[in-house]
């Protein structure tokens, strides 16, 4: 039997939660669909392909204070940031939820990043299955699916008279306490994403063609605008800086991108990745080689945002195919 919640009941349930906790949900902001805190259910957009940005920033904010340092009685008082806001994240797509789970790899690896850990603990994720993949989507090639419920606390899938509800975790169960769900024999539709990007064996292929001139040729047109990293649900490189105002210092962490000039420049001026080719290779090798070597999964969830955002059409789907092809050729040549 499938458990169903009607659209009206869903809205009143969410409205109830909003009275006590912060709810982030997809809303319309100008021409974009973005996660924003909502105060009423009618602000929520239920019918969207995907949000323009993933909700990564709820766990790994663009700018976050790690701790503050304030002079006090001849000493310096250090106060680490404490995340105390409980957040309900409504409407996360399976690809983006997989992105969060993937980033648990580096962030929770010992010693754990205490800020990421706190955001994770304080957030309950209500996923929403995709009804129809967008043209740029390829989640099934990256180990997920339009109805993949494995990385959220509660999964909702739209059916004719409401949403099918799957409770995945204890956290989800707690949130659903007291909510009346109808039993129904309606089977939720199984949406498909039939784009097939040949990701299998990519680690071996990219290892073989690592030194190929392909990367510098491809990078010729990169303008290192960093938008790929900005929209990516699994990019997590960061910078740390101090900001001081009226004697109070905040040590802050901000998003960074490996495509930035000077990203790897060391004291004295030497930069091991001074050219665009090695920087572009770093981006794709991190996702398709280093990350799987370190944490198992590929560092891409197939959301396709970078494909849409790149002003010079650098397309990870094409790169995966090219890498497979060149890798196979190089492999033959060396045998």
């Amino acid at each position: 039997m499938t458990k169903i919640i009607g659209k009206n009941e869903l809205e009143s349930w969410l409205s109830g939660i909003m009275k006590e906790r912060t709810v982030f949900a997809p809303t319309r902001v100008d021409d974009l669909i973005l996660f924003r805190p909502v105060r009423s259910a009618n602000e929520i957009v239920f019918d969207y392909e995907n949000t323009n940005l993933s909700p990564k920033e709820l766990f790994f904010p663009r700018t976050e204070t790690l701790f503050t340092a304030v002079p006090k009685d001849g000493d310096i008082e250090l106060t680490p940031t404490i995340v105390d806001q409980e957040v309900i994240l409504f409407g996360i797509r399976p690809c983006d939820a997989r992105g969060i789970a993937i980033l648990d790899g580096p962030f929770l690896d010992e010693p754990a990043d205490s800020l990421w850990a706190q955001h994770r603990e304080k957030t309950t994720m209500i996923g929403l299955s995709c009804t129809k993949p967008a043209p740029q989507c390829f989640c099934t090639s990256m180990g997920s699916a339009p109805n993949d419920a494995s990385n959220v606390d509660i999964m909702l899938t739209q059916v004719e008279d409401g949403y099918a509800v799957e409770t995945i975790t204890e956290k989800g169960e707690k949130l659903l306490q007291g909510v009346e769900l109808r039993e129904s024999d309606v089977q939720p539709p199984v949406p498909t994403c039939d784009v097939n990007i040949p990701a299998e064996g990519i680690v071996e292929a990219i290892t073989k063609m690592f030194d190929d001139p392909y990367w510098s040729r491809l990078a010729d047109r990169c303008i290192h605008c960093n938008v790929c990293a900005y929209v990516c649900p699994t990019c997590y490189c960061f910078d740390i800086r101090d900001r001081t105002d009226k004697g109070k210092t905040e040590r802050i962490r901000t998003w960074e991108s490996c495509q930035s000039k000077g990203f790897t420049r060391i004291a004295g001026g030497y930069d091991p990745r001074a050219d665009k080719g090695t920087r572009l290779r770093q981006r794709f090798c991190h996702k398709l080689l280093y990350f799987p070597q370190q944490f198992g999964a590929l560092g891409c969830v197939g959301c396709g945002r970078c494909v849409i955002a790149c002003p010079v059409n650098i397309d990870i789907r094409e790169i995966i195919s090219d890498v497979q092809k060149i890798g196979a050729e190089v492999g033959q040549g060396s045998n």
Partner: protein
């Protein structure tokens, strides 16, 4: 003091140990030796030669430096800092008594126990000599454990040679030779004027039962390596510390990777055998 509430939860790995600057000594016109002491007894900071730590100049930032002291002497935590950027400039302004912070120790270390009974060749250029000083201190403090020691210290000019006040002590140690070289001498300099790779060719150290530890600018390492290989040194006999831009020291910010390796966690100490197997070559 850190709030109690967070001490129960996952500790914040970005918060430094509070420390106080005990002394500042000029080593060269642009390198100072800082001696720090941790403020709290409960903060554990046990380290080995080759490991590094971040030192904070609150309001400006923090930067990673190789620890220049040795833990067992309990003389405080020392860092040799060359004034080269914003953080190091700010650190150079600090005076004894200043409050700072230390995060670490991070990374691996020189496996000096594995080098016992071997001939040790230590080659450092400029500020690259900083992480080699605890290697020298440890070996000379345990002199009987090692065979012959050759130290080659090079710098741009005579006044840029780091740790000059300790040279006399080093050469007093038995079976220990110190060779100095500069890129350009001055009126008081009677010593060698040559680049480090050329000094290697001049001295012809034998690779037999030897370990070579090199640290310095990338260009020096590159040419020194090729001269050592001409003399018959194998890649596994040559050890270095790699430098990488880094922000966290925790294997998270992904600034310091060389291929799938992190300089901060897998290094900074690598043999050339390891480095030559990295997929990414710098």
């Amino acid at each position: 003091m850190v709030k109690e509430a967070t001490e129960k939860a996952v500790p914040n790995p970005f918060v430094p140990y509070p420390a106080t600057l005990k002394s500042v000594v000029d080593l060269t016109p642009d390198v100072k030796l800082f001696t720090l002491e941790l403020d709290r007894a409960q903060d554990e900071f046990d380290y080995k030669p080759g490991q590094f730590a971040f030192v904070s100049a609150y309001g400006v930032g923090e930067s990673p430096f190789g620890v220049t002291s040795v833990a067992y002497r309990r003389e405080g935590l020392q860092f040799a800092v060359r004034r080269v950027g914003t953080v190091t400039n700010a650190l150079h302004q600090l005076e004894p008594g200043a409050k700072t912070g230390v995060r670490g120790p991070f990374g691996n270390f020189f496996p000096l126990d594995d080098y016992k009974n071997k001939n040790i060749i230590i080659i450092g250029g400029g500020i690259g000599f900083a992480p080699l000083r605890p290697v020298i201190t440890t070996i000379l403090d345990n002199r009987d454990d090692y065979a012959n020691v050759l130290i080659l210290n090079g710098a741009r000019s005579p006044s840029d040679l780091c740790f000059a006040s300790e040279f006399d002590d080093w050469v007093k140690s038995p079976r220990t030779k110190l060779e100095l070289t500069v890129d350009a001498g001055d009126e008081n300099w009677n010593g060698r004027v040559a680049l480090i790779p050329d000094v290697i060719t001049e001295l012809q150290p034998s690779p037999k039962d030897a370990i070579t530890i090199i640290c310095g600018p990338p260009i020096m390492i590159k040419f020194t390596l090729s001269r050592l290989k001409q003399l018959g040194f194998a890649d596994e006999q040559i050890v270095t510390t790699l430098e990488g831009k880094m922000k966290c020291g925790l294997g998270k910010c992904f600034r310091c990777n060389v291929g799938e390796k992190y300089v901060c966690r897998d290094g900074p100490v690598f043999t050339f055998e390891q480095i030559s197997n990295f997929i990414e070559q710098f």
